[in-house]
Symmetry: C2
Subunit: 417 residues, 2 copies
C-alpha cells in the first residue's frame, strides 16, 4: 500500500463510527473543535507565523500572505462557523423514498454519507477546519491535502481538531491531514480508487484542472467561474449598471464575480458610457470589441481577444461585447461560459424566460447580481464549494450534497422468478 | 477538433431542442421509434445477420452470438420497451426546491437534463435503442459507442431512429452513433471535457475499468457486482437455501447475482450440506475455506483463494466462507465487495439492523434475493444501469438519474453588500 492507501485504510476503519453517529454526538464534536480552537489561539498563530515567515523568505505576494494569515479575529470566525453548523439539519438517515413492492418487500431509499472524502486545496488554512467540520456533520471521514505554504498552520489545526474529536468519543482518524506535501502524494490521492470515494478540489483553475485531468477517483469540479451579464434591449439601464458593477467590483477574485458584459446593440450607446463611469471608480480595465471601442473611444478600450472572452480574470478587468440579439448573447455564453452563474437584465418576460431556459449554467439570474451564488445566500447554511459540473449536483453544495443514497430492502423470503 | 469533438459539437447544437421539448413531443419521438422499428424488422435482421456472420468467421462464442442476435421477437421486445417509456413521468422541469430569499429574490431549484451523455458499451445492439430512448425521454442528447461486433446492427438501428426523431420534429443529431470503432475514438470520448457532460459505460468489468481509468469526463461507474449473502446464526435455513440458490443460479451472468456465501459457524454444519444439495442441481462449483471443506468433504470443495473472494464469477461458481460472527461477515464484505448488493438471512432484529447500517453497498437486503436490484423491480420503470459509485447516485438509475439541477433566481435589482 502506498502512503495514501495506508492513510485511507485508517479512514475506512474509522468511517463506520462517524457514518452511524447520532446528530447529538456529531454536534458535540463540532462544539469541542470550536472550543479547542478558541483555547489554542496563541498556538495556532505561532504555527501560522512560521508559514508566513517562510513565505516571505520565498518572496510570497502580499495577497497570498493575506490568504495564508490567521489572526485572533479570523480564528474566532472559524470557531463560530463550526458552532453555526450545529443548528443545521443532519442530512444522514433521511428517508427520501420508499414503498411496499408488489411482492411484499419493503423498499426504503435513505440518505447516507459519501464515505471517505478527499479534499485538495491551496494555501488557505481556514479550509482545513471548514472542510473537516462539514464532513463530520455529514457523517464522512475526510483526508485533507492543503498547500505546502500552509503546512505548519494545517498541522497545528489538525492536531487540535483530532484531540477534540477524540474528546467527543470519535476515533481521531475520521479526520486526517496529508503531511507530506509532495506532488506525488497528491497524485496517489487522485488515483486511490477503492479507498477514497469522492475527491473535491478547492482552489484556482490550475489546481482544479490538474485534478480533473489526473483523477480516476470520482471528482466534483468546483468553482471555476467565467460569469456573464447580458444587458437586454429592454433593460432598466440604471439597474444594469448597479448589477454589473456589483458583479465585477464587489469582490473580483471570487468565482461568482462577473467577467464579461454583453450588451444589446440598441442600448449600447446609452449604457456603455454609464457603465464606464461607474467602473472608473475602481479603475476597471475594459477589454471590448470594435463597437465598444467606437462608443467609448479607442483610448479607453483594450481590444478584446478571443482569449479574453474565455478568461476568468479574477481582477479589475471586464470583457465587453455588443451583440445583435438575445440569441447571440445566449450563444456567446454557451461558447465561453464555465457554467457557473449568468444574469440577464431585462424588463421583457419573454427574454427572461428564454434566457433562464436556454442558458445551461448552474445559476441563471434575472435582474440581480451573480454574486449571490453561494450556499449561505441560497439558504443551505454552509457550503463546501460550488459545483460547475453536472454529475451529482450543480451550484452550491451544502451538507446534503456530501451524502449519497442506499437502498434498504426487507422481505420474508422473496426470490426472483 | 477531433472526431468526437466534431460529433459532440453537433450534439451540443441540437441539445436545446431536446432539453426544452415538451413531454408530448418527446413521447411522440418514442412512438415514432417503436413504429419504425416494427416496420423495419427485415432490414434490421439483415444488418444483424452481417454481424453474426462476421462474428462466426472470427470464431465468436455461442453466448456472444446470442447477445448479438436480433430476431423478430427481440425487435418486438425493444419496440414495446420504447412504448412503455411513454407512460413514465417526465423528470425534466420538476421544481425540487425553492423559496423567497430574505432580500426578496425568488429561488427555484429545477430538474434539467444532464446535457450530452456518452454511452460506451459492448456487443448488445438492444442497448443502442434502450439508451437512446431513455436519453430522449429525459431530454438529453446522446452519443453512443457500441462494440465493433455489432456495428452493422447499430448503424441500421441508428438510421431508423434518426429518421423517426426527425419525423417527430427533432434534429437528428440528438442521437448519434460513433461509426468509427477504433479504440482511439473511444479514448477521445473519455476525454471530451467541455463536449460530453457525463459518460456511462455499460458492460463487463474490463470495459468499465478502462473507462474509469482513462476518462477525464465525469463517469458513472455501473454494474460490477461482487455480491454477498450472509447466513446468520438465527437464519431460517430453508429460506437461506432458497435465497442463495436464487442469487447464484437464476441468472449467474448478471451483476446482481451472488458470488460469495458467508455462513455463521454455529449453523454451518447444518446449512452447508442443504445448500450443496440444492446447488448440485445446477452443478455449481464450490470454492470454500478449510471449514467448508471439512463439512462438505474435501473432494467436493475447491480451496478458495484470496482472489476467489474478490472475483465476480458470473458463472456457476460460488465462494463460501465460514465466519465467527456478524462483525466478521460485515468486515469481509467491506473488504471484498464492489458495493452493489448484499443480503443477510436472519431472524434477529439486531443482526438485520446492524447489517443494513454497517454494510456500505448500494442495496442491502434482509431475507430476500439480491436479484431484485433492478430499476424495474424497484419501481423506477426503466433503468440505464446500476451505479456502484457513490457520486450522483447509487443503485438503479432511472430517468431522474439522467438529470441534474439548475438554480433560477429572479430579482428586481438586488446586489450583494
Amino acid at each position: 500500500m502506498n502512503y495514501i492507501q495506508t492513510m485511507a485504510s485508517r479512514s475506512k476503519a474509522a468511517r463506520p463510527e462517524i457514518a452511524n453517529a447520532s446528530s447529538v454526538q456529531k454536534n458535540e464534536a463540532l462544539l469541542e473543535i470550536a472550543h479547542a480552537l478558541r483555547r489554542s489561539k496563541a498556538e495556532i498563530i505561532a504555527a501560522n507565523e512560521l508559514d508566513i515567515k517562510a513565505g516571505q523568505a520565498r518572496g510570497m505576494s502580499e495577497s497570498l500572505q493575506d490568504r495564508l494569515r490567521l489572526d485572533e479575529k479570523r480564528i474566532e470566525g472559524i470557531a463560530s462557523a463550526c458552532e453555526k453548523l450545529v443548528a443545521l439539519e443532519d442530512p444522514v438517515g433521511e428517508i427520501i423514498g420508499g414503498r411496499v413492492l408488489p411482492s411484499g418487500m419493503t423498499l426504503r431509499k435513505v440518505r447516507v454519507p459519501l464515505g471517505v472524502i478527499g479534499i485538495i486545496y491551496e494555501a488557505r488554512p481556514n479550509v482545513t477546519v471548514d472542510a473537516a467540520v462539514l464532513c463530520i456533520k455529514s457523517g464522512n471521514a475526510v483526508i485533507l491535502r492543503g498547500g505546502k505554504e500552509a503546512i505548519n498552520s494545517n498541522k497545528c489545526l489538525m492536531d487540535i481538531m483530532r484531540r477534540a474529536v477524540k474528546l467527543a468519543g470519535f476515533p481521531e482518524d475520521i479526520i486526517q491531514l496529508v503531511e507530506d506535501t509532495d506532488r506525488g502524494i497528491a497524485l496517489e490521492m487522485m488515483q486511490a480508487n477503492g479507498y477514497i470515494d469522492v475527491l473535491i478540489p478547492r482552489g484556482g483553475a490550475k489546481l482544479i484542472q490538474a485534478v480533473v485531468k489526473n483523477a480516476t477517483v470520482p471528482v466534483i469540479e468546483t468553482g471555476t467561474g467565467n460569469c456573464h451579464a447580458y444587458v437586454d434591449a429592454t433593460a432598466d439601464l440604471g439597474m444594469a449598471v448597479r448589477i454589473v458593477d456589483n458583479g465585477k467590483t464587489q469582490r473580483p477574485s471570487v468565482c461568482n464575480a462577473l467577467e464579461t458584459c454583453l450588451v444589446h446593440r440598441s442600448v449600447a450607446e446609452d449604457f456603455l458610457p454609464m457603465l464606464k463611469k461607474k467602473l472608473d471608480e475602481h479603475n476597471v480595465e475594459i477589454r471590448g470589441d470594435e463597437m465598444t471601442a467606437m462608443i467609448l473611444g479607442e483610448q479607453n478600450v483594450t481590444p478584446a481577444t478571443e482569449e479574453d472572452y474565455a478568461t476568468e480574470f479574477g481582477d479589475y478587468i471586464i470583457a465587453v461585447k455588443v451583440v445583435d440579439s438575445l440569441g447571440e448573447a445566449i450563444e456567446h455564453i454557451g461558447k465561453y461560459s464555465t457554467g457557473h452563474s449568468e444574469v440577464i437584465i431585462t424588463e421583457s418576460l419573454f427574454s427572461a424566460e428564454e434566457f433562464q431556459k436556454r442558458v445551461d449554467s448552474a445559476a441563471v439570474y434575472v435582474n440581480c447580481s451573480t454574486r449571490f451564488t453561494d450556499g449561505e445566500e441560497f439558504g443551505l447554511g454552509a457550503e463546501i464549494g460550488i459545483s460547475t459540473q453536472k454529475l451529482h449536483t450543480r451550484g452550491p453544495m451544502g451538507l446534503k450534497e456530501l451524502t449519497t443514497v442506499k437502498w434498504l430492502i426487507n422481505g420474508d423470503g422473496q426470490i426472483r422468478k
